[in-house]
């Protein structure tokens, strides 16, 4: 019998024994077991051994080769204050130099990172973290609990404009408990705290960040395997491997991020002609072209990213739930997936929790009913139909507009005259949470509860629909405190039902994700959240 151990050496959390029983009996699968035990601070090596599968690792057939320069096509956006970053694409740049307390891999399993271990209290409200003593900053300073405390206090400060303020609203205090340890105290139980600490707005900055001018690219101090060498918005950023890195050294000597603008055809042309090695993202529109290119590998994956066409529940005419219900009943989700995304994805049911998320509960679909939609509109005083306008920005590609156009046709059948207000991508983000009816792309999160906490909790900074329901908040609190993977979907059933029945959004489908890379690129994982760590990436000889 192989014994489970925690990374910290502390006794196992009381829920671990129960999890072991459940995986033995088949009540939960191995992935769910690894995810849940990782939250509770169990070492992945011992968890893997317990399951008889060794430590989970990247499958690799070839021995990695060190050296070389990888050229990555992506937008070079401003990164002044990483906690305020609103684009994941930008976070992948500082991800080379700045590190996080934890690391969540492509299978949604949480691993130690700057924090080498964590131990939750029995009620999941007090979390003790131990930092890796080896971690040092590029300026020679040691990583200390003061660094972490500085960051967390900035996230949750009253004047904070970071999305972290909502995501970590449960944090009551953070305090130093030793030279390399600190404690986070929560107002309510949150079992996935370690997982949340890998959100893209949570890199750990040096404690002097603000006194140094609060401009990271101007003074790029970090603990990561690469150092920022050059950085020019809209043009190029280069990172060079640090020889004094505290952890496992990266393979590549240099990474050059190159801004090729917004036209993905140009990105593919640059890849085809060998000017870049990998693209940040391609869309369904380029699928045939990239498939036809020789020496190019197409990477695809499913994730919990989606388009949300949400209505602000406190704005006319959406303050009348009958109008919102009519919109949902007239929408044909399957048709949107089939036409706008060529069927490459999974159908969704308007409650923003994905089958790829471990806490997903499949609600019974509500069939499309145009007659009922018309009746609801008439009841709401719009017997002659209604004029609505949806604002969108094609932030991920033209398929966003295609989706809205299909919705436009669907709604027309119920007498809803939907106008499309299409903005350039960068002009959409300043208004994404202000327009009464907007189409927003939401990135992947490992758990549905994490997305819902950010997007639909009453008063949250990113609550673009202004949905507010104490009942929903309470149900979500309950779901977020559940550790047992088999119990989580059950707890989410109520949460999803409240949200779906409130008719806040048309959330039609979960699009598959695509990108393309040269055949020589190895070790690159299409992380479901687009969090691309580059230290495991290497270039094979052509």
């Amino acid at each position: 019998m192989i014994e489970l151990k925690t990374n910290s050496g502390a006794p196992l959390h009381r829920d671990v024994a129960d999890l072991c029983e459940r995986v033995r009996s088949g009540a939960i699968d191995r992935r769910g077991f690894l995810r849940a035990t990782a939250w509770l601070g169990v070492s992945m090596a011992s968890a893997g051994a317990f399951l008889g599968m060794g430590e989970p690792a990247f499958a690799q057939d070839e021995a990695p080769v060190d050296g070389g320069t990888l050229r990555f096509a992506c937008q070079i956006q401003e990164l002044t204050d990483p906690m305020l970053t609103s684009w994941i694409e930008a976070s992948n740049l500082f991800r080379n130099s700045l590190e996080f307390l934890t690391y969540v891999d492509a299978n949604n399993v949480t691993h130690p990172y700057l924090a080498k271990s964590w131990t939750p209290s029995g009620d999941l409200k007090v979390w003790d973290f131990d930092l890796d003593e080896r971690a040092t900053w590029s300026n020679g300073d040691a990583l200390t609990p003061e660094d972490v405390i500085f960051n967390i206090q900035r996230w949750i400060a009253p004047e904070s404009q970071s999305s972290n303020k909502t995501a970590f609203a449960a944090i009551e205090s953070v305090e130093k408990t030793g030279d390399h340890s600190f404690r986070i105290t929560l107002s309510r139980a949150v079992s996935s705290l370690p997982e949340q600490l890998y959100s893209y707005t949570c890199p750990i900055l040096h404690r002097n960040f603000e006194t140094d001018g609060a401009n990271w690219p101007a003074k790029p101090v970090g603990t990561g395997p690469y150092g920022l060498v050059t950085y020019e918005v809209g043009r190029q950023a280069t990172f060079k491997k640090r020889t004094d890195y505290w952890g496992t050294p990266a393979h590549l000597d240099e990474i050059h991020y190159i801004d090729l603008g917004t036209d993905i055809t140009t990105h593919l042309a640059a890849l085809a002609s060998g000017q870049v090695d990998i693209l940040y993202r391609t869309t369904i529109a380029e699928y045939d072209l990239m498939k036809s290119l020789p020496n190019v590998q197409v990477l695809s994956g499913r994730a919990a990213n989606t388009l949300v066409m949400r209505m602000q529940v406190d704005q006319k005419p959406f303050d009348d739930i009958r109008v919102r219900q009519a919109v949902l009943l007239a929408a044909d989700n399957q048709q949107m997936l089939d036409i706008a995304y060529r069927g490459e994805g999974d159908i969704a049911g308007n409650y923003h929790v994905s089958p790829t998320q471990a806490d997903y509960f499949p609600l019974e679909p509500i069939p499309r009913d145009v007659a009922k939609a018309k009746a609801l509109l008439a009841e709401a005083g719009y017997a002659d139909g209604i004029d609505l306008e949806i604002t969108l920005g094609n932030t991920q590609g033209k398929w966003e507009q295609d989706t809205a156009q299909v919705l436009q046709q669907n709604l027309a059948e119920a007498g809803i005259r939907l106008a499309l207000n299409v903005l350039p991508a960068s002009q959409y983000w300043p208004v994404w949470d202000k327009v009464p009816f907007g189409l927003t792309f939401w990135a992947h999160r490992p758990l549905g509860s994490m997305t819902l906490d950010l997007a639909y909790r009453s008063g949250g900074a990113w609550n673009e629909s202004h949905f507010a329901s104490p009942e929903f908040d309470a149900a979500l609190d309950k779901a977020m405190a559940v550790v047992d993977p088999s119990e989580r979907p059950k707890a989410m059933r109520g949460v999803e039902t409240i949200l779906r029945d409130a008719a806040v959004m048309v959330q039609a489908y979960w699009p598959s994700r695509f990108t393309a890379a040269a055949q020589t690129v190895r070790g690159f994982e299409l992380h479901p959240a687009d969090y691309f760590r580059m230290d495991g990436v290497w270039l094979a000889k052509a």
Binding site: S162, L260, S273, S426
Partner: protein, 319 residues
């Protein structure tokens, strides 16, 4: 004297034009004060932060005073800081302008000789096979918009033949292979246009009495074209060429964006997309400056080619 008078008058006109444009640009972008604060401080800023910033930057003053202050700062080279690029605008524009200048120069190196020679040859013998061929190709190239020819040329030279790179970022310094495609796209359209204008102009000149006289006197065709026809036939094409300058510098946004060429066009595009108002203002003013400067140069070249056009008359607004 005439030249000096002409230049003074033209400069006066240029300044008046720039002042008008500056007022329009300022009114369009800065009249809504609340928008300015959001654009500069970002969407995450609080109302209190915005109010403080507006007060600290004089945005509570009357519009006229703000305009004059902005104009004064612009004239003295204080163009502000770009909110998107996070750098001084005055240091950003010259490099981008030079990059577009190189692209425009490359395009003109193709457009001028090819367009003029094709136009002159076609115009010398209207109705000949060569004339029909030049006319056909010219109509074809001028009918295809630049975004379409960019896609077409990339499909052929990048994806199919694999002869040329697909992006023109020039990150490792100037590269001939990277500039070929954007130059070709620009040249395709303008060369055909110039050839058609030159051809028409040449046909006119070849029908004039002095060319007929020269022909009757037994002058060789080469001598007729070079000595008598060409200079007069060039007046209209030169105007067309001069008009290409402002178009090539600020009107090539599509080509620059398609090839990720970091010139003045992409700068203006990114500035507009990201609501970088100070940068949009600066780019608009620089564009106007380029337009009025090329107009003056165009007039000077016009009078050199056609001595009947008097600069003194032009200076006084006669003729």
């Amino acid at each position: 004297m005439a030249v000096t008078l002409f230049i003074i008058r033209k400069l006066g006109g240029a300044i008046a034009t720039m002042l008008t444009v500056s007022l329009l640009v300022f009114l369009a972008l800065e009249v809504n004060v609340a928008d300015v604060a959001v654009k500069v401080l970002g969407q995450f800023s609080t109302d209190a932060q915005r109010a403080t910033w507006l007060a600290a930057n004089g945005y509570n003053d009357p519009v006229v005073l703000r305009y004059l202050r902005w104009l004064g700062a612009f004239v003295t080279g204080d163009w502000g800081t770009s909110t998107y690029y996070r750098t001084e605008i005055a240091s950003l524009i010259p490099g981008r302008l030079a990059a577009s200048g190189i692209l425009a120069g490359g395009a003109l190196l193709v457009i001028i000789p090819v367009g003029l020679i094709a136009g002159v040859l076609a115009g010398m013998r209207p109705g000949s096979l060569l004339d029909r061929l030049v006319s056909l190709v010219s109509v074809l190239t001028t009918s295809i918009p630049d975004f379409a020819s960019a896609v077409f040329l990339s499909a052929v030279f990048v994806f199919w033949l694999k002869w040329l790179p697909g992006a023109s970022t020039m990150l490792s310094g100037f590269s001939i292979s990277e500039i070929v495609l954007p130059v070709l796209v620009l040249a395709l359209y303008s060369t055909g246009y110039l050839a058609r204008v030159t051809r028409a102009s040449m046909i006119d000149v070849m029908g004039t009495h002095y060319v007929r006289t020269a022909r009757l006197k037994g002058a060789s065709p080469t001598r007729i074209v070079l000595r008598h026809a060409l200079r007069n036939a060039l007046i209209t094409p030169v105007t067309v060429i001069m008009l290409q300058f402002p178009w090539l510098l600020s009107g090539v946004i599509v080509v620059e964006v398609f090839y990720a060429y970091k010139g003045f066009g992409t700068l203006l595009y990114d500035a507009a997309l990201n609501s970088d108002i100070y940068l949009v203002e600066a780019c608009a003013m620089v564009s106007v400056l380029v337009v009025v400067a090329t107009q003056i140069l165009s007039d000077l070249a016009y009078s050199w080619l056609n001595p009947r056009v008097s600069l003194a008359d032009a200076a006084m607004g006669r003729g």
